[in-house]
Amino acid sequence: MSKLTMRFWGVLPAYTVMILLMIIPLGIIFYVSLMTSDPYGGYKPLFSLESYTQILYNYDWDNNLELNFQYLLIIGRTILLSLSTAILCLLIGFPVAYYISRQRKEVKPVLLYLVTLPFWVSMVVRVYAWVLILSNDGVLESGLRLFGFVDDIDSLLYNNGAMLTGMIYSYIPLMILPIYASIEKLDPRLLEAAGDLYSTRIQTLYRVIIPLCKAGIVSGFILVFVPCLGTVLEPILLGGGKTMMMGNLIQNQFGVSRNWSFGASLTILLLCIVLIFLFLQARRAAKLNQGAN
């Protein structure tokens, strides 16, 4: 068997699964998003862009199109919360990754193990932990009351802050690991050189360490940002189902609302946001590479 036929047969099963269970379904989603929704569930095979206009417009009682900010608000919140999560994960994760990489050889794998460990605990359980902590008469409130800090707090749960906390908690290991990997590759002699040339710590950080760790920072950012865009659990359990994000809005269209076409068009929109973000990132990376050569 030649090398090429061996490769063909080797990847054939993986390709088959991915084409049948990912690529074709994505095509079907696109098709459904262009169809008319059926009020009894599913869709009618009639072409219409209604499900896309529905994202922006609403029919008022005279059957005129009317701008509707309800969904734009959810889309905006999704992007903003995901960006905030990624930025906060970076601000916390970078010092942690750097600190771990400066430890002794025997300590490093232990600390890395501790970073990854919670990631293998069920997502539902991890989000539940924050419900337990933040709920009314929950652990945090009781604790604060015990020490006399507060008499009465409005609910700590069911707001953007609770969702943000839950999302950071869920995804931060994905930020730390790639940054750690890129810091490990950093040549320590460069830092010595910076010191010898009277660079301050801040200058070294901004002009030597961060530029050289850019690849790790960027991939950490993507690894956190992309799953955040589709997050479902945090909005339901920590946001209380009222402060929605795109993930649970989509899920609702296939559950209680039974509006498949609208759900499909929202899914396509989410996919487009992810692809645009990845495309911009890839173009930036290509430009950086060109600059380096």
């Binding site: 390709y15 010092p95 990854t116 605990v121 997502m123 337990l132 499909a264 899914t267």
Partner: protein, 269 residues
């Protein structure tokens, strides 16, 4: 004295950032306090979760006697075993094909295809596969879960196996071929034993991923198959309860018991 001296010599050691240690400490507290809280309160005798009343293991007894919980655990285990097995076999075959040989461009494209589930938000995949199943009229909940889980487990099995293959030189394989072993014998006797730690790590990781999955299982399930995370989610929606703390603790212990050897084998040289 030596320390003092080094302080003066290294006063321009710009690779040290004094605040980073404290941030790291706070980070680990942030990471582990919620877990500790669940474990601690699972032993609380009081039905009101946040008021400590005394030590008790009664919530564990009631968790183990919860028939719905045991049923959903059974569904999760079955799905995880079958989809992990299929995903690992597919991943081994793909990893072998994509590590040997050298036309980089096609290879990178194929690696991207295998890793496709990692690149999209999971909800997109979940919704897409839901529509596929309903168009094909697939009713069996178990079958739906197994197909969906197999698909998103493939990259998790693939990555450690590929990493293992990359770190290995193929002298032994060449030697075996020179000694007239058939490709199958070479694979069985030489390649497979050498990549076994990677296969083991990949299998374990996809097992944990399958056991923990919520988003896809929640959308796809129905038809008489509820997985453990979907059942727990329904409990969490009803509110905080000490039995839920006990269940969560049991799940955490189980995940750690599976993930620890997997991580060990994944990083072992």
């Amino acid at each position: 004295m030596g320390r003092l001296l080094s302080f003066f010599i290294n006063k321009n050691d710009v690779s040290r950032y004094p605040g980073f240690g404290i941030i790291t400490l706070l980070f680990f507290l942030f990471l582990y306090l919620p877990i500790m809280v669940i474990i601690a309160f699972s032993f609380n005798e009081n039905k009101i979760v946040s008021v400590w009343n005394g030590f008790s293991t009664k919530w564990y007894t009631s968790a183990i006697n919860n028939q719905t919980l045991v049923d959903s655990l059974q569904v999760s285990l079955t799905v995880a075993f079958i989809s992990t097995f299929i995903a690992t076999v597919i991943a081994v075959s793909a990893a072998l094909a994509l590590t040997r040989g050298d036309d980089i461009k096609n290879k990178n494209f194929s690696i991207m295809v295998v890793n496709l589930p990692l690149m999209l938000p999971e909800i997109v995949f979940a919704v897409a596969i839901l529509i596929l199943f309903s168009l094909l009229g697939v009713q069996n909940g178990m079958l739906k879960l197994i197909l969906a889980h197999t698909c998103f487990c493939i990259p998790f099995a693939f990555l450690p196996i590929r990493a293992r293959l990359q770190g290995m030189n193929n002298n032994l394989e060449h030697a075996s071929q020179d000694l007239y072993a058939t490709p199958w014998v070479t694979f069985r006797r030489i390649t497979l034993p050498l990549i076994m730690p990677g296969v083991f790590a990949g299998g374990m990781l996809s097992f944990v991923i399958s056991m923990d999955d919520f988003i896809t299982s929640n959308i796809v399930s129905g038809g008489g198959a509820t997985t453990l995370p979907v059942y727990i989610f329904s409990l969490v929606k009803q509110g905080v309860s000490p039995e839920l703390n006990a269940i969560s603790t049991l799940i955490m212990v189980a995940s750690l018991l599976i993930a620890t050897p997997a991580l060990y084998f994944a990083t072992k040289k």
